[in-house]
Amino acid sequence: MTFHFEVIFKNLDFLLNGLKITFLISIFSLFIGFFLGLVIAFMRISKSKLLSKIAIAYVEFFRNTPFLVQLFFFYFGLPELGIITEPITTAIIALGVNSAANNSEVIRAGIISINKGLVEAAESLGLTKFQVVRLVIIPNALRVTFRPLGSNFINLILTTSVAVSITANELMSNAMTLSSNSFRPFEIYLSILVLYCILTFSLSGIIHFVDKKFISKGIS
């Protein structure tokens, strides 16, 4: 059996265009996922029973239904309500909203893990509730949550490949198009598996490095 990997090199720019879209989707949904996750986490631990219940329902829904189904629901279902949807934007929102559920659990664990004594000490120094949250809780929680959140982000990048099902022209989609036109699925799909791995490992390495150097020092 002969292999024809040259089809990859001849079409590298086409594949890399897809990679650009993958990055685009990933970065934007990362932001949505993080900040929304923060909100949900605080709702979950808030004293209001209503807010807490809503947060729990949110997390349970997104973790117990498939992302693909959520994506189809947003992309094809919402237009029935009059909302116009576009592939890349929908992918960003769906991915952001989904990852927020996962992130909120991680952040919640991080907040709970904070030594009560720290919070009490800060309060006794006369800091307001908001200042306590901003200066004590969030930075300390972040130290614990940085690596798991990083791992969630890596998962998010891998999940962008699902967006091919709603006609987004990201890496997976371009690989499929290339495969259909060159009849070389083995070489192409193997190569993008490797490409995704390279991406993931590099990011893992960066997260590990940043964690060691900047996050894991100081009080905790």
Binding site: R63, P66, L68, I154, T200
Partner: protein
């Protein structure tokens, strides 16, 4: 032949959805079985820290855990057939890809569970004259399993969700049934809501069990 738009769902559609549910549960269970079998062996070997082999197994584990399942599915279903004499059916590709994918994650959980058992336990057992396997069987397993079960059940829940991706290689699972129904009825909002609820109904009880198991682990930890 001309009746292509059914605004209302018929009893037949309900049948299709139930069949889809059954298929999804079936392939998930098969994948979990494969994943547990392979994952246990690999995780066990990794935990024993055998010099060369343990590191080599990372070549299996890491690429699978760090690449998208969609790409793995397409590679298995379309790619392998192009270079070998074996061309898998959608069912075979779906179950085995999902299974091997599960096994990589399971191996990590198995390894972590075994390692979580305090070194002192091993040392105490050895000083009593027990062999590695005796120690493993009589002392370590019980403790490791309490750590293993919550994580593993969580993995099962996750694999149930990602099993929906097999619809992208045309395999008729619950998601594919939903897709077929949206084309026929033109009511994606309704259909995807129903499909989501059906997945939830299967998944939530298992998820709750994982959480329950986790609290039992913590409780046991306090006593032991």
């Amino acid at each position: 032949m001309g009746q292509y738009i059914f605004p209302n769902l018929t009893g037949y559609d309900v049948q299709l959805l139930l069949k889809g549910m059954g298929t999804t549960i079936l392939i998930t269970l098969l994948a979990i079985a494969i994943g547990l079998a392979f994952g246990f062996v690999i995780g066990l070997i990794r935990s024993m820290r055998i010099p060369v082999v343990s590191k080599l197994l990372l070549i299996y584990i890491e690429p699978i855990r760090n690449s998208p399942l969609v790409a793995q599915l397409f590679f298995a279903y379309y790619g392998i057939a192009m270079v070998t004499n074996f061309s898998p059916s959608a069912f075979q590709a779906a179950v085995w890809t999902l299974g091997i994918n599960t096994s990589a994650f399971a191996a990590v959980i198995v390894n972590a569970s075994i390692r979580s058992v305090d070194k002192g336990q091993w040392e105490a057992a050895y000083s009593l004259g027990l062999t590695y396997w005796q120690t493993f069987r009589l002392v370590v397993v019980q403790q490791a399993i309490r750590v293993f079960i919550p994580s593993f059940v969580g993995l099962c829940v996750n694999q149930l969700q990602v099993s929906s991706l097999v619809s992208l290689i045309g395999f008729v699972d619950l998601t594919r049934v939903g897709y077929m129904l949206t084309l026929r009825t033109y009511r994606p909002f309704l259909i995807w809501s129903i499909v989501a609820v059906l997945y939830f109904v299967i998944s939530y009880p298992i998820s709750r069990f994982a959480r329950y198991a986790e609290t039992r682990v913590k409780a046991f930890g306090k006593i032991g």
